[in-house]
């Protein structure tokens, strides 16, 4: 694609995203808000997958951010914005203390360690009185911006969009920096990366901690629209579902894959209009079918099959005569 077309597409996308909440009904806006949250979780998963570490502690750090915002706003009567930052920093510090053990031990230990961390942190939120017990914290006040309260569904949607765009931009610039290239090297081959002098443990650690920060931001955003933190919202199954988003969207597309996957897997069950109990089954069956038949995900399928097809269509006979597309 040439540059003007890309910029044009981007502009159209921005306009659609901005006017979207005014076109659809409030219920759909709510679903969009959920999608934004899950997209941020999926982005973090794809982010650490870049360095070959699948993480299942997503819900834990999401919860840490959520609880930090909820408790700081409730007990310390702080404004919403500093709590986002503080939550992120808490998630990074705690993450550092925990992952200093797991990251040097390789992928398998990291994976299982993450699951146990997710479980332990949820248990702490539920069992320690300070965090409000299993029923959750009390009602958190709504976030404000310059004495204007962010309350309506479209406003919350814009708030989420802001966080998502910041997240995407940071990840995008990291991927295209020297650090991102080192991460790519680690993701493709540990030994090769080590042989060219990349400190694998430190680079992996940096990746996981940056992921932690944005997971905590997603948690703060979750508090902004759900207005209460409960241990059950940050459950282990939330971490698991995140993995489905990225594989359905496209495992090689760390930025667009989770967005598309979260969109599809949130909206399909909503619009199939089936009973709530059958929803997970349908999601799971869709995931299994996609993995078996489109292992590269939907975006990967577009890259492999649809794009060459369009290219052939555009060039007419040239490619048919054997000129490589």
């Amino acid at each position: 694609m040439s540059k003007p077309i890309k910029i044009g597409l981007l502009a159209v996308m921005v306009i659609v995203l901005v006017i979207l909440p005014h076109l659809v009904n409030p219920y759909t806006v709510q679903v969009l808000i959920t999608t934004i949250t899950y997209s941020m979780l999926g982005l973090a998963f794809g982010f650490s997958l870049k360095v070959g570490l699948p993480r299942f502690d997503i819900a834990a750090w999401w919860g840490v951010g959520g609880y930090a915002t909820a408790l700081l706003m409730l007990k310390a009567h702080m404004n919403f914005w500093p709590t986002v930052l503080i939550g992120g920093i808490i998630a990074m510090v705690l993450g550092f203390l925990i992952f200093i053990i797991a990251v040097p031990r390789g992928m398998m230990v990291f994976l299982m360690f993450g699951m146990v961390v997710a479980m332990a942190i949820q248990q702490i939120f539920g069992s320690v009185k300070f965090f409000g017990g299993w029923s959750g914290t009390g009602l958190v006040p709504r976030p404000t911006i310059f004495s204007h309260t962010i309350a309506g569904k479209p406003e919350l949607y814009y708030l989420g969009l802001f966080f998502l765009v910041v997240n995407l931009l940071v990840y995008y610039f990291l991927y295209n920096s020297k650090i991102g290239r080192a991460w790519n090297a680690i993701g493709s081959s540990l030994r090769l990366a080590g042989s060219v002098g990349i400190d694998i443990v430190r680079y992996r650690m940096a990746n996981v901690l940056i992921g932690n920060f944005f997971l905590a931001v997603a948690g703060s955003y979750y508090i902004a629209f759900s207005l209460s933190a409960a241990p059950t919202s940050f459950s282990f199954s939330a971490s698991i579902f995140v993995m489905m988003y990225i594989v359905v969207g496209g495992i090689a597309h760390s930025l667009s894959g989770p967005l598309l996957g979260a969109l599809i897997l949130t909206f399909i069950p909503e619009y199939l209009r089936v009973a709530k109990e059958y929803e997970p089954i349908i999601t799971a069956v869709i995931t299994i079918l996609i993995i078996i038949f489109l292992p590269a995900g939907i975006l990967g399928w577009i890259d492999q099959k649809a794009k060459p097809w369009f290219a052939r269509l555009g060039k007419g006979r040239k490619t048919e005569q054997g000129v490589p597309a």
Partner: protein, 291 residues
């Protein structure tokens, strides 16, 4: 602490240790041989418990029959799962296989929620009275569970000594070399899946008269199995055995003092163990995909 309380806690610990041992050794077997990170392992355990309830309470058949039904049907389900889903995702790699097990587990847990409901399903105790030695009272059902777990582990030990078991170990060590020796890897995968899932089925069937069947029991035991595999080392069966009883007893004693926060204490101990013995209790683990 008096002796009676100590013994009760110890029996509880041994009982949960036995369960963790069955589930974790099935998990580590599948991880070692097929290199599938089977997230549905806990769900097979849960389904085994529900099946035991269905057979022994709803259908009124004797409890030993229910155990056999749970064992056989979980083994068959494991083979079907491998035949229908896993083998088609094998060429796509580790994450894809892991994800289909997650999806399959979701289907199992949601389907059992739909058919059995949110309420816990109670199977009456096998021996409905308590053993008393002076001041010490023990639940004979719990001792039965421990005995059952030990019998299954011994059976598994001798199974691993047979030709099939040796072939499984060989396939875990190096799939290609095992193939060169004339080991049919496809058949080994099926056997592994059947054994791994059957272990979960029998664990669920054994525990259900003590803890009634609930929908959360699958994820609960799966986390414990993760702890066990972390402590015992990935792919190590003897490590899993030792670690399972260690985790079980530790959890039981920590529960006495910390209540629901016992997982935190275990987590700290596991973190220390992983820090000092990254290869697991029994030394060097098997090579795993994508270090």
């Amino acid at each position: 602490m008096d002796l009676a309380l100590f013994l009760q806690i110890l029996v509880n610990g041994l009982m949960s240790g036995g369960m963790y041992c069955l589930v974790a050794s099935g998990f580590t077997l599948i991880l070692g041989v097929i290199q599938v990170f089977n997230m549905a392992q806990g769900h097979f355990y849960m389904l085994g418990a529900y099946l035991t309830f269905a057979v022994s309470v709803s259908m009124g058949l004797p409890y030993p029959v229910a155990i056999l039904v749970a064992l056989a049907s979980m083994a068959i389900l494991g083979v079907l799962f491998h035949w229908g889903v896993i083998q088609w995702t094998m060429p796509h790699g580790f994450f894809h296989m892991m994800l289909v097990t997650i999806a399959f587990g979701t289907i199992i847990s949601q389907a059992s929620l739909l058919s059995f409901g949110y309420n816990e399903q109670v199977v009456p105790a096998v021996i409905p009275r308590t053993l008393e030695f002076g001041e010490i009272t023990l639940n004979p059902g719990k001792l039965l569970v421990i005995a059952g777990a030990i019998i299954v582990m011994v059976a598994l030990y001798y199974f691993m000594k047979t030709k099939t078991g040796t072939a499984m170990k060989a396939a875990a060590e190096n799939r290609e070399v095992a193939g060169l020796q004339g080991i049919n890897a496809k058949r080994i995968f099926w056997v592994t899946m059947a054994v791994g899932s059957g272990l979960c089925g029998i664990a669920g069937a054994l525990i259900v008269p003590i803890l009634s069947a609930t929908t959360v029991m699958g994820s609960n035991i799966f986390i414990r199995a993760m702890l066990v595999v972390l402590v015992g080392g990935t792919g190590s069966m003897s490590g899993a055995l030792l670690a399972a009883f260690l985790v079980g007893i530790m959890e039981s004693f920590a529960f006495q003092y910390l209540g629901q926060l016992n997982i935190l204490a275990i987590f700290v101990v596991v973190a220390i163990l992983v820090f000092f013995r990254p290869g697991g209790l029994m030394g060097k683990p098997l090579p795993m995909p994508g270090q």
